[in-house]
């Protein structure tokens, strides 16, 4: 059996990266945002946006900035961007951390996690 090595991003990865770019662009311009707001502006599913925002939150890129009452009377968490590093969207990947040399290294099995 021959294995063809293919390093080009497949279709799913392309869609994921495009979605990340969209979400990141809207987040950076809005400063204060709720996940619902971003999902209507990007026309992406709520889960897609919330998963990406959650990853950004874990990495310290966004932080919670109180709550806002929406039209239905329920409160939504308001997020604020804390690290506006530039126009390219941060990529989520699994990696290997080495405490001896204090650095993050990509493993060969690095994969982009569920932002589709």
């Amino acid at each position: 059996m021959t294995i063809i090595l293919n390093n080009r991003p497949n279709n799913k990865e392309k869609v994921q990266s495009r979605n990340r770019e969209k979400i990141w662009k809207v987040i950076r311009a809005l400063m204060d945002f709720s996940v619902e707001e971003v999902s209507t502006l990007t026309e992406l599913a709520y889960q897609v946006v919330s998963s990406y925002v959650f990853h950004l939150y874990n990495a310290g890129y966004v932080r919670q900035a109180g709550k806002r009452k929406e039209g239905d009377g329920r409160k939504r968490v308001l997020w604020r961007i804390a690290k506006n590093t530039g126009p390219k969207a941060p990529v989520i990947c699994r990696c290997l951390y080495d405490p001896n040399i204090d650095s993050t290294l990509l493993t060969s099995a690095s994969e982009v996690k569920d932002v589709d």
């Binding site: 662009k25 209507t40 502006l41 026309e43 390219k88």
Partner: protein, 227 residues
């Protein structure tokens, strides 16, 4: 309530102007001006369009000089800004020629007092030919009319208006999950002319419909709740 980006008359005007701008013929200048009172969704609409169509969104600051603006544009186009102003301009031009993208400049009336800055934007448009959209406050068109060379290049000028009756009907059709009668739409129009207020009313009518298992909500139902 359906979570969609409601297409009001402002949005459709904007979208058709953007389509004309992007697919314009040779010789027609590609600058546009979007203006209107605050709170009508100019920034939201442009962001929505920029996210779908790979636009570049720049928010200006009051203290911005030409150099700072160019630096911001270059950074936003994805390059590390160089030191000299001439290099910055060249970088911006190279990036835009390499991969043409629509530039959106929010709060453009901040720049209106400084001819050098605003004419830099015009230079950028003239050398690259990429569409450039300025977004400004209510009197932005009058402020920018002073710069005749610039104003001539606006092939599209879109004014954002407050919501009218047909807009509220469109929002209700696109977002609300129950049917609203004519007089209910009129009632909402008399109560609210800002988007956020309209959405509150729509949520209210949905909850009335759910509680009373109604097929259609009328003005009488909505007024009943208020007491």
């Amino acid at each position: 309530m359906k979570k969609v980006f409601a297409k009001t008359s402002n949005v459709t005007n904007f979208v058709s102007a953007m389509n004309r701008l992007v697919n314009r013929q040779d010789g027609i200048p590609g600058m546009a001006l979007i203006f209107g009172e605050p709170g009508l969704g100019k920034t939201r609409t442009t962001l929505w369009w920029a996210a779908q169509n790979d636009g570049v969104f720049i928010r200006t600051k009051k203290l911005m000089t030409g150099r700072w603006l160019l630096e911001e544009i270059v950074a936003e186009l994805g390059e590390a800004p160089l030191r000299r102003t001439s290099d910055l301009f060249r970088q911006a031009v190279d990036q835009l020629l390499d991969r043409p993208r629509t530039l959106f400049v929010d709060e453009a009336d901040y720049l209106a007092h400084d001819a050098r800055v605003i004419e830099t934007l015009r230079d950028l448009h003239d050398t690259t030919g990429t569409p450039l959209v300025l977004i400004g406050m209510d009197a932005a068109d009058k402020k920018l009319m002073r710069y005749k060379h610039l104003y001539d290049r606006f092939s599209e000028v879109v004014k954002f208006n407050t919501l009218v009756l047909s807009d509220i009907k469109a929002i209700a059709d696109q977002m609300c999950e129950v049917k609203l009668s004519e007089d209910a739409v009129q009632y909402i129009h008399s109560q609210a002319n800002r988007f956020r207020r309209v959405v509150v009313q729509l949520y209210k009518s949905e909850s009335i419909a759910r509680a009373n298992s109604l097929k259609e909500v009328t003005a009488a139902h909505l007024q009943g709740v208020k007491k």
